[in-house]
Symmetry: C2
Subunit: 340 residues, 2 copies
């Protein structure tokens, strides 16, 4: 089972997961043989052997759930399919155990790590799909969130997508991932802590204030519908970074209402379409930022999606300072995106 | 002049530096023409046109300082040469001005951004150099730190090295960088704040405690000399991550004593040599973590170098959680490195 270790300096947790080293292309440049034998091809697998393609269901662990038009579990006929990650960062079975090792703190790696195969077609991505399929993606995210919330061992559910090798996707077929964690991660705690401070000072949600400012300035908005807004934030870390936020104050993604599912899918698809067109199908990560499970962040936290195209490398300066250098002002990015 | 913008949620600063977009290969995959015309070659420049090679001094801005065996400034004959960054993230001239923009906070981008060309040979890296050259590198870091400390506008000096394109180096010729900042960066504040908390609780430096634990466990040590130790930390975020720490408690890098300069250069060179041999010349970042200029961190902070080989991509999970997944236990990493 993976081991969680806590850095005694800043409290960062690291998952030591030796199983992950067995993934095809776990390393960028080591071991030498693996990465290089592909001879410059970004991905090694063909459609015939892609574990996420229809007809290859036997190449994944048995499915957790699927949206099907026909067929039995683990056979063709699905539109969205959720499976356990074959090389999980955390393991589903077992009870949480914590112990000290010298001055260090450790924990066993209990958690869920799922793959949401949310597009049956190997060569399409979110930018290319129908309204209906984009709705199904959000429905799958929501369904898994609601189910995993019931497991008392978990404190946080993280849903994200890595697309393109340099954004960390180890398989070419588009897919999302979900990780349920036994602790609230540091990065989330930081956001919660700081937005509570803001709330204590102003009695307002900082995200609502940002929305109001963006609506007033108007120069960084990319897409908008009845329930959601997508914009290049004033403090974008990365060129062409986009955030999608519910207009109404809402702290947990799993509180999404039935009538909001499709509009969220559509604004996500439309924002990704603009990114794909303007930047020639860039690698990207997107992440749903939400409050912890059963949290009390009702007033001061506001869930949202952060989309980060991977156009520049994060290097020594960013690692050492936590500062980001962004060569493209978000005003320019939004302007180009809306015209794309 | 670049503009600094502060994220109102977690207080992260971003430098909007449009000048940086003009760098050759500023983007990984956009604009299309630039990155792709190189036809798969990692770097475009030849030795004849490399601005950091001896004989091409006119291709850089005039030098700030150099260690010379002969010649005039900006001519051949140097062993280490320090120049302003041609595409700086911050600008040297001007006074610091702060203002609010709606709900946001901004600052003008005053600061120094220097390049330390610390190896005259284009094709060598720190792993390959002599004891004498490694001493000169540390001397250059120290000299620049001491000089820039005197400028009252700066609060923090960050020294780092990016090596290899995927670790963010935009030029192939090995070089280090220095950035002097008008504020203490978030990442540093985090370390200071947390190590102060540890000190308040235990009346001991957390880094000294880590050193004691590593010395006792013995299984993660890579190199050691009279003044310094290099080891794979118990909570390594990345495979084969190495930290170098002074054995004696010392809070600021610029407090380095004369007799420690060469031993630091040598342990850095030797650690990098092991990395290069074991991992086939991997891309990497290293960063000197030190206390702020004129800080009061005497008792609780301990400067050190963090070396992070770039073997895996940081992706959605890491961005969303601040958790890292490391497939190689540091005990295994240290064991392989010592045998390399």
């Amino acid at each position: 089972m993976p081991e969680l270790r806590r850095d005694p300096i800043i409290g960062r947790w690291v998952i030591i997961a030796t199983e992950r080293a067995k993934r095809p292309s776990a390393f960028l440049s080591f071991p030498k043989d693996e990465a290089r034998r592909s001879g410059g091809k970004e991905y090694g697998e063909s459609v015939e052997r892609c574990p996420f393609c229809e007809g290859n269901e036997s190449l994944t662990p048995p499915e957790i759930t699927a949206d099907r038009t026909e067929g039995q579990p683990n056979s063709p006929g699905w539109t969205v399919r959720v499976v356990p990650n074959k090389y999980p960062a955390l393991e589903r079975e077992g009870n949480l155990e914590k112990k000290g090792v010298g001055i260090f703190d450790t924990m066993n790696g209990v958690g869920a790590h799922e793959v949401i195969i949310d597009i049956p077609e190997h060569s399409l991505d979110i930018a290319d799909i129908s309204d209906g399929q984009s709705e199904k993606i959000i429905k799958a995210y929501l369904g898994r969130s609601v189910e995993l919330k019931a497991d008392q061992r978990y404190k946080y559910i993280l849903i994200f997508r890595n697309y393109g090798r340099s954004a960390g996707a180890s398989l070419e077929h588009p897919h999302s991932q979900l990780i349920a964690l036994p602790i609230v991660p540091k990065r989330v705690n930081e956001e919660l802590h700081s937005s509570l401070e803001y709330f204590n000072c102003k009695d307002r949600c900082v995200f609502c204030d940002i929305l109001a400012q963006e609506a007033k300035d108007k120069e960084r908005i990319v897409e908008e519908n009845k329930f959601f807004i997508s914009f290049c934030p004033f403090v974008s870390r990365f060129p062409y970074e986009i955030w999608i936020m519910p207009k109404e104050h809402r702290f947990h993604f799993s509180g999404l209402k039935r009538e909001e599912i499709k509009p969220l899918g559509v604004i996500l698809r439309d924002s990704m379409k603009k990114l794909k067109k303007l930047l020639d199908n860039p690698p990207y990560n997107y992440i749903i930022h939400t409050a912890p499970i059963n949290g009390q962040e009702r007033d001061y936290y506001h869930w949202h999606i952060e989309i980060m195209p991977k156009l520049v490398n994060v290097a020594g300066f960013e690692w050492g300072s936590g500062f980001y250098v962004n060569p493209v002002p978000p005003e320019e990015a939004a302007n180009k995106l809306t015209k794309a």
